[in-house]
Structure formats: structure tokens, C-alpha cells
């Protein structure tokens, strides 16, 4: 024989592997020898290509033959079993069988629908967030860029540097932008919107042009150039009623008139908090100084570039600038990273975790269905045995079972896909950030995934019962002993149950850990009284508030009016409230060497005197800020305890620190209790200035209410408008809502995992019930005999329960290992609890064991009710 070619070897191996053992000798050897001859012929007739084609054909028909052999059984072989005419009959028959056992059928359908629906829903989120996060035209070529500070940190970009970067040839296009909230006035109600100030090149990078009108053009983003804006589709509909004549109209943004020149296409989302309007950059409040770095930037890579090479080239440009402008740029470099990675990075762990959890759920669901079907198959052994004995084609029977299972899974899948629409809505409702940034929905790719999942489940779990049926031997079945097959079927189902218990435990432990995290977060004391505190935001803009006097006067009046409202116990303002925006300054004590880069940073907020009291903080030393202090008096400050302790050697009272670049100072007159600015951080280092002395146009309102905070929302708004009707009041909500928003992601994960965990446990319980019921049923005669021979009922009960306990124990052991491993995946999401928390593990085991015990209890009790006399008669 000539040296064997790989194709021949492959074919031979395939025959050996695919065909079942009993048909390998005869059928297999014939197929192999003839197949090899055909391959040889093909090669000599048409070369390697022809041989490859022949090989493909042979392999695929070999697979079909193997499948048929395996489902048909040893000696059963008939011509009469083929044809699509038979298929129609099978489907009709399958329907009949399914409706005959409505209970099991409905249970299976629901289980499948839930599993498949959940997978599809989560996949739609994964699709929108991870696979396709950007709405841009060439998303893989868009990078986020910025400057790198001398200490190596990521920084934003200054306008002058941006212009120089544009001139250099590193990218196809570079765009600068700055997202901020913008007040809208003029015709219509005053509003606050999210605006993105962009350079004209933004539309080149993004690659999407407005659906209506035009984009911002070069020259319109120069200082002093015309002020224009492009609206988002949504805002155009909302504020302008979708009026096509909106182009050319004027609106006042931050009190400056802008001409509307375009409307973006429907559904276009930006990863930077989808704005209501894109505004020509030169109107943003910013300095033209090269060292004033407050712009973000994105760029379009040149063809063939990647982020790393572009970043390196950009670094060289930055080095050149550092030489030319050492004052502003010395030591400054540049960075570039892919935008899609950055955008989805935030959500990736959460979504991947969800996908894993849901896949687990699907496995459990599928196992349940397989188990239920196996039970049904065995219940029909009698029927199958009679049919086989009468010469009916067993292959036909198996095909029927396959069709039945396929039908079940197809129906369940269809139901599941329908459910997934609701699931997606639910996902978005639980985590609004998803929808704001990403296009989360059921599209073609998601549907294909749903169908794919369904088919896999059909194949995987439908084959089990069919294969089990294929091994039926009419002789033993008719003798009523069903021993061999019964045992094999039961073993399969036991394995399934152990698997289900293990997976459920893993899910429950994960859910439990997240629940404890949420509880720990809920117990965090942020250092102020969070109960009944209503908050709102303003940003004062425009000529009316140019001078500090005017700002102080405005806030004085607003606070005064609100304080008089019924139900208000206290009102104050602060530049930054906890759980809101933040601002930091370097903390440099007067008389020490000012080193801007290395000085520790502290959180700065300009507060009204009385803030400490309204917020429920404590004055620890010294005194509070003076309500009568004026703009001309020396500026006072209070600092947080941690700041005083860590940053001020000796007694903080009386020391001063710098509060601006022109070296103005503030004197510390008091030390107050610490606050945390977020739930997961400890106390922040804070300093507070007197708003009346160094006013900020940016402020948040805090109102302590006697009753339900939101009831005062409208009166507060109206009080503000009574002082200035053009002033938008924005994000009016109790502070607890703001706090909750900061942990929305974790809460989302927790809710879903808990839901899945409970569902999984219930499904596992159904599985256990099924196995136990089957066991009891199969051993009815044995149990009857035992009872007849005088065994105590308790004994019988124990017999059954011990069996159940072994199963569950096995599942728990495997499950603990699984849970141990999967809990580590959650590490980054946990707070206040370790991923090895013994309490959580123990609780999950107890919960699962209880559920399992209850599930086994019912059939166990039935076992004791077995009538010994009847079972002995009833062979």
C-alpha cells in the first residue's frame, strides 16, 4: 500500500470515531474500503481539489449515516422509515403527545422560554455595548487622544496645542470637544440641556453628517466666528416639534444667540453622554491659554495606523511643541487609545458576567427539559416495547421523539424570543445608562443568536432522550423489568440534577455576595444626614451675573424665598454637593513652597454659612463661616477633619492656604466633620469657602424638608423663578436618588443575579422532584414489598430521602468548587464583603438544601402511601 495521504487517514479516523461500535465491523469496514477507493479515483482523475471535494461529500454523508445508525439501534433497519411524508406525520403525532401531558409540556416550555429569552435579552445588550458600541462610520479607526502630564497622568488638551496637532499630519482628522450643561433661553421655557461644544472637524472624525442641513464648518469654530449649533433628532422633536423650518432660526445658548444649521440623524448616539445639541466650540467658556487644558479630543487614524503608532508619532509632535513653548508644554507628552475599547470597557465586566450567568441558567433550564423528556420517554417504555415487539420501526419511534423534542424547543424558543423583547426593556429600565449611550435592542444579529441558541439547546438536550430511547430493548421492557435502561436513564437524570444543583449554588452564592455588597453600601454613613434632603442644580450665566455682588444677591434671595416655604426646615447652597460634581484644588499652606504638580489635592466647595447645620454635619473645632462676612473681608474657610489632621501640621485654626493662582488666601476658622463624596470612598479631604465672599456661579441647592422631599419640587422651582424667570432649575431630586445612581451598575447586577439565582434554584428543585418522583415510581414494587413485609413507614421515607440527599450533597460539593471560582470574578464589584465570605456560602447552601429537601419530600411521602397489596397485584 502506498504511503497514506492525510485525506485517507482523516476519512478512516472519521469512520472509526463516528460510527457506533456495533456497526463498525461490518458497515464501517465496507464504507472505509470503498470510500478510500473513491478518494483514490478522485485524486487520479482530478487532482487534490477533486479529492478534497469528494472527501467533503463522503464526510458529510458519513455523518448522516452515523446519526441514523446511532438513533436507530442495532439491528433495526428499514427502507420504510424515510421521506418527508413521514415527517409531517411525525409532527402531528408530536403535537398530540405534547398535549397529552400538558403539565410537563407547559413546564418545559416555560423553562425553555425563560432560559432562551434571558440569553437573547442579555446578548442584545452585549451586542449593543461590546460588539458595536459606536455609531460612527469607521468606529475601529477612531481614537481618544489627549496630553500626558509631566507626572505621567492622562490629561485633557489645550486649544493652542489642539490647533498645532491639527496642523501636524499624525491623523486624518482631529477634533476637540467639551461636554457641559448649557442653559437654553429665548422662545419657550428656559431649559438646561447637555451640550457638546465641538470643533468643525468633529463631523469628519465621526463620519456622520446631519440628516437635515449641514454640519459645523471650518471657521465657525474660531474665536470670534459665527455661532452655530446642530440639534439632536430627539431634541429637535421635543423642543421644536420636528419643524423642518428650524434651520436658520436662533436660540440662546448660555445667553449667546446661536444659529441652528443642522439636525443629526435619528438614533445617532454619542458615547460622551448624547447631547441635545452640538455647538461650535469657540463659544465654550474657556481660556485661550496654551496651558489651560480643558478640552477632550478624538481623532481619525490614518489608513493602516493603529493607536500605538499614532500615539508615538503624536508624542514626537508634543516633544516638538515642548521645545517651542517650554513654559506651557515642558515635560508634556501625548496618548492615544481606541475609543470603542474605552467606551465598552466600562460595561464589559458587568455584561460578560451577565452573559455567563444567563448561559448557566440556560444550561439548567435545558437540563430540566431533558430530564422531563427522559422521564416521559421512560413512562412510555411500555408503549415503545409493544410497538417494537410488533415489528414497528424503532428508528421511526426515535425519530418521533426527536421531532417531539425539537418541536418543544422550537416553541419554547419562539416564546423565549418574544420574552426577550420584554427582557431588553427590563434591562434598560434597570440600567438607564445602557440606553442613553448604546443601541440596545433586538436586531438581526441578536435574533440570529437567539435562533442559534435555540438550535443548540434542541440539539444538545433533545438528543439525550432520543439516544436513551434508541437503547431500548423490547424483551426486558415487556418483562417489566426495565432494569438496564431504567437504571441508565436514571443515572443520566441524576447526573443532570447534580449539575443543576451545582450551577444553582454558584449563581446563588454570586447573588448573595452582591446582595451583601448592596447592603454594606446602604449602611455607609456618608457623614451627613441623607434623609429628606432635596437637591437641585443651577449654573448662572449671562450678563446679569457678571459681578460677585450679583451672584451673592441672587443666591441670597433664592435661599430667603425657599426658607419661607411651608415644610422647609433648612436651605443652603454649595458649589459641589456630595455625590455630585467635584472640583479640586492643590492644597498649599501659606508660607510654604507652592508646587502645583506635587501638592496634595483637596475637594473644594463654596458653601453658604449654615451649610454645616442644614446638612447635619458637626462643627468640631473653632466656629462656622460668618453669615455677615462680606466680599471685602478676608476670605474664611472651614476644613474637614481629615484635611486638618493630615495636611496641616499642628493646629489648623488660624492657618491660611492659597485659593487661586494669584495667591489669594483663605483663613481656616473651623474644622468640621468629614463627608464621603461617594459610597465606596472613605472620607474625602475637603475644604469649604464662604460663598458670600468668593462666590461661584455654579451651585447646588440643598433643602431639608419636613415631609416628602419631592413634594417641594415645584414650590422650589417656582421660588427660583420668582427671583429670575429665565433661570433653569435642573435635576431636582432627593439626595438619596443621586446616591443610588452612583451604584446603579452594582444594583443592576445584583438584581439580575438574584433573579437568576432564585430561578435556578427553583429549576433545580423541579429537577430533583422529577428524579425523586421517578425513583419512587420505578421502585414502587420494591417499596410495596418492603411495606408489606412490615417495614416502618419512617424507614421507607428515609430510604428515599437519603437518595435525594446524596444527589444534593454531590451537587453541593461540585457547586461549592464552582462558586469558589466564580466568586473571584466578582471581586471588582464587591464592597464590604470578600469573595470568600463564609456566611454567604453557608446561606446559599442552606437555602438550596431546604428547597431541595422540600422538592424531595413530596415524592418521599408518596412512597409511604404506596399500597403494598395493590403493588404486588399490579405487575
Amino acid at each position: 500500500m502506498k504511503g497514506t495521504r492525510w485525506s485517507v487517514r482523516l476519512f478512516r479516523a472519521a469512520v472509526r470515531v463516528l460510527l457506533p461500535s456495533w456497526s463498525r465491523d461490518e458497515l464501517g469496514s465496507q464504507v472505509e474500503s470503498t470510500g478510500v477507493r473513491l478518494l483514490d479515483d478522485a485524486r487520479s482523475e482530478g487532482g487534490a481539489l477533486r479529492e478534497a471535494r469528494t472527501l467533503a461529500r463522503e464526510l458529510s454523508s458519513l455523518t448522516a449515516l452515523a446519526l441514523r445508525e446511532r438513533t436507530t439501534g442495532r439491528d433495526e433497519s428499514s427502507l420504510g422509515g424515510e421521506g418527508t411524508v413521514m415527517m409531517g406525520q411525525d409532527v402531528r403525532f408530536a403535537f398530540r403527545m405534547l398535549t397529552r401531558n400538558p403539565g410537563t409540556t407547559v413546564a418545559s416550555l416555560l423553562t425553555l422560554a425563560l432560559g432562551i429569552g434571558a440569553v437573547t435579552a442579555v446578548f442584545s445588550a452585549v451586542n449593543g455595548v461590546l460588539l458595536d458600541p459606536l455609531d460612527y462610520r469607521r468606529p475601529e479607526r477612531v481614537v481618544l487622544v489627549g496630553e500626558r502630564g509631566p507626572s505621567g497622568g492622562y490629561s485633557s488638551l489645550s486649544w493652542e496645542n489642539f490647533r498645532d496637532w491639527q496642523e501636524s499630519d499624525v491623523f486624518d482628522a482631529v477634533a476637540a470637544f467639551s461636554g457641559t450643561s448649557v442653559s437654553v433661553s429665548g422662545e419657550g421655557a428656559p431649559e438646561r440641556i447637555r451640550g457638546l461644544f465641538v470643533s468643525a472637524s468633529y463631523f469628519d472624525v465621526v463620519g456622520i453628517r446631519p440628516a437635515l442641513g449641514r454640519a459645523i464648518e471650518a471657521g465657525e469654530d474660531e474665536p470670534g466666528g459665527p455661532r452655530v449649533a446642530v440639534l439632536s433628532w430627539g431634541w429637535w422633536q421635543e423642543r421644536f416639534g420636528g419643524d423642518p423650518d428650524v434651520l436658520g432660526r436662533t436660540i440662546r445658548l448660555n445667553n449667546e444667540p446661536h444659529t441652528i444649521v443642522g439636525v443629526m440623524p435619528r438614533g445617532f448616539r454619542s458615547p460622551f453622554d448624547t447631547p441635545s445639541a452640538w455647538i461650535s466650540l469657540q463659544t465654550a467658556p474657556r481660556d485661550l491659554d496654551r496651558s489651560s487644558r480643558d478640552l477632550q479630543a478624538i481623532a481619525l487614524l490614518r489608513e493602516g495606523d493603529d493607536a500605538a503608532t499614532a500615539g508615538a508619532r503624536l508624542g514626537r509632535v508634543a516633544a516638538g511643541l515642548a521645545e517651542r513653548y517650554p513654559d506651557a508644554n515642558e515635560g508634556w507628552g501625548a496618548w492615544a487609545i481606541r475609543l470603542d475599547g474605552w467606551v465598552s470597557g466600562r460595561y464589559r465586566p458587568l455584561l460578560l458576567g451577565l452573559l455567563a450567568a444567563v448561559a448557566v441558567l440556560l444550561l439548567i433550564a435545558g437540563a430540566n427539559v431533558a430530564g422531563l423528556q427522559l422521564a416521559r420517554t421512560e413512562a412510555r417504555t411500555r408503549e415503545l416495547a409493544v410497538r417494537a415487539a410488533l415489528g414497528g420501526s424503532r428508528g421511526r419511534l426515535v425519530r418521533q421523539l426527536l421531532v417531539e423534542n425539537g418541536l418543544l424547543v422550537a416553541l419554547g424558543g419562539a416564546l423565549g424570543l418574544g420574552l426577550s423583547f420584554f427582557g431588553v426593556d427590563g434591562l434598560v429600565a434597570l440600567n438607564p445608562g445602557l440606553d442613553a449611550f448604546f443601541d440596545v435592542g433586538v436586531d438581526g444579529r441578536v435574533l440570529a443568536a437567539g435562533v442559534g441558541v435555540t438550535s443548540l439547546v434542541a440539539l444538545g438536550f433533545g438528543l439525550l432522550p432520543a439516544l436513551a430511547a434508541g437503547r431500548l430493548d423490547p424483551g426486558t421492557l415487556l418483562a417489566g423489568r426495565g432494569g438496564a435502561t431504567g437504571r441508565r436513564g436514571a443515572r443520566a437524570r441524576s447526573a443532570l440534577v447534580v449539575g443543576q444543583v451545582a450551577l444553582s449554588l454558584a449563581l446563588l452564592v454570586s447573588a448573595g455576595l452582591l446582595v451583601r455588597s448592596m447592603m454594606a453600601l446602604g449602611r455607609v454613613d456618608p457623614g451627613f444626614d441623607t434623609d429628606k434632603l432635596l437637591t437641585a442644580e443651577f449654573r448662572l450665566t449671562g450678563e446679569r451675573y457678571d459681578t460677585p455682588d450679583e451672584i451673592v444677591a441672587f443666591f441670597d434671595q433664592v435661599v430667603d424665598r425657599i426658607a419661607k416655604l411651608p415644610g422647609v426646615e433648612g436651605v443652603t447652597t454649595a458649589q459641589h454637593l456630595p455625590f455630585g460634581d467635584r472640583g479640586t484644588i492643590p492644597f498649599i499652606l501659606e508660607g510654604t513652597e507652592p508646587d502645583l504638580d506635587r501638592a496634595p489635592r483637596v475637594e473644594l466647595s463654596r458653601i453658604m454659612p449654615g451649610y454645616v447645620k442644614v446638612m447635619g454635619m458637626k462643627l468640631l473645632r473653632g466656629r462656622g463661616l460668618d453669615a455677615d462676612a462680606g466680599l471685602d473681608d478676608p476670605v474664611e474657610a472651614v476644613v474637614g477633619e481629615t484635611t486638618a489632621r493630615e495636611l496641616v501640621p499642628g493646629d489648623a485654626l488660624g492657618r491660611s492656604f492659597y485659593i487661586s493662582e494669584d495667591l489669594r488666601v483663605a483663613r481656616i476658622v473651623g474644622v468640621v466633620s468629614d463627608v464621603s463624596l461617594s459610597l465606596t470612598e472613605g472620607p474625602a479631604r475637603s475644604v469649604y469657602l464662604n460663598q458670600r465672599q468668593d462666590p461661584s456661579a455654579f451651585a447646588s441647592l440643598a433643602v431639608r424638608t419636613g415631609g416628602e422631599p419631592m413634594q417641594l419640587a415645584r414650590p422650589v422651582r417656582e421660588a427660583v423663578w420668582s427671583v429670575d424667570p429665565d433661570q433653569p432649575v435642573w435635576e431636582v431630586m432627593p439626595i438619596q436618588d443621586r446616591m443610588a445612581a452612583t451604584v446603579a451598575g452594582q444594583r443592576f447586577g445584583m438584581t439580575l443575579l438574584s433573579f437568576f439565582g432564585v430561578l435556578a434554584a427553583l429549576l433545580a428543585a423541579v429537577g430533583i422532584y422529577g428524579v425523586m418522583a421517578h425513583t419512587v415510581g420505578a421502585r414502587t414494587r420494591e417499596l410495596g414489598v418492603r411495606l408489606a413485609l412490615g417495614a416502618m413507614e419512617g424507614r421507607v421515607l428515609r430510604l428515599v430521602l437519603v437518595r435525594a440527599a446524596t444527589l444534593v450533597a454531590g451537587g453541593v460539593v461540585v457547586g461549592l468548587l464552582l462558586a469558589w471560582w466564580s466568586a473571584t470574578l466578582l471581586d471588582s464589584l464587591l464592597f464590604g464583603v470578600t469573595s470568600r465570605d463564609p456566611l454567604t456560602f453557608a446561606a446559599a447552601v442552606v437555602l438550596l438544601a431546604t428547597v431541595a429537601f422540600l422538592a424531595a419530600w413530596l415524592p418521599a411521602r408518596r412512597a409511604t402511601r404506596v399500597d403494598p397489596v395493590r403493588t404486588l397485584q399490579d405487575t
Binding site: 465496507q30 474500503s33 470510500g35 463522503e58 454523508s61 458519513l62 448522516a64
Partner: protein
């Protein structure tokens, strides 16, 4: 000596008809003399001008079923065959198989007659 059968509906062949193309061709190949698997494939290919090209699995899977229904039987190698492989098995149509083949042929003829009557096909197809 059995009688030749009547129409296509005798001998309980209902479940088997209509025959698939592959099975029909296999039965044809095994009708006149015993053949082994490879020879059947070659014979069919030659007879149909390459339009029917069976794979080994299809052939032997079908043969297994045909033998199960006693339509085909395994026989000894005919003495005039030069046999370079003693393990090769030869098959031949059984009487039952011949009757089935005839039944299918009758069915095809009846179907063809309708087409001829309707003018879809010209009546003279001898030697075609």
C-alpha cells in the same frame, strides 16, 4: 414460479414507494448480476452519465436497509470475477427486491403516461 405482479400497489410495498433516486439506481445495478459496493457506484455513475454520484456511506447505509427488508441479499463472489480482495462482499437483488423494482418501474411508467397524454413529453421515447 411466481406470477408477475400487477400494478404498483401489490405485495405491501406501499411504505416503500416512491423509491428515492439512490435506492432505485442501486436496485437497478443489482438486478442483472451480483456486484460489490464499489462496482455499484461505478455502474450507476456510468449509467446516469455522472448525474447520480453516490458516496460510500449512502450506498452501504441503503444496502443495510435493503437487506433488512429482504430486498437484497449477500451472495458469494461469482466465479468469473478476478477478486483481489477476498473480503469483498457481493450483493444481488432478491425476488422480492425484483418485484419492488418492477413496482416502481410501473409507477414511473404510469406517471410518464399522464405526461405523454398531456403533451408535456413527446410519445416516442424508445432508446432515449
Amino acid at each position: 414460479m411466481e406470477r408477475t405482479s400487477g400494478g404498483p400497489r401489490d405485495q405491501g410495498f406501499d411504505a416503500f414507494l416512491p423509491l428515492s433516486e439512490a435506492v432505485y439506481q442501486i436496485l437497478l445495478s443489482l438486478e442483472d448480476r451480483p456486484r460489490h459496493g464499489y462496482a455499484v457506484i461505478q455502474d450507476i455513475r456510468r449509467r446516469t452519465g455522472g448525474t447520480v454520484n453516490l458516496t460510500a456511506s449512502t450506498l452501504y447505509g441503503a444496502l443495510k436497509r435493503l437487506r433488512g427488508d429482504a430486498l437484497v441479499a449477500e451472495v458469494d463472489a461469482p466465479p468469473d470475477e478476478e477478486d483481489d480482495d477476498p473480503r469483498r462482499r457481493y450483493y444481488l437483488l432478491t425476488e422480492r427486491g425484483r418485484r419492488l423494482l418492477r413496482a416502481e418501474a410501473m409507477r414511473l411508467r404510469a406517471a410518464l403516461a399522464t405526461a405523454v397524454r398531456r403533451g408535456l413529453v413527446p410519445p416516442d421515447l424508445e432508446g432515449g
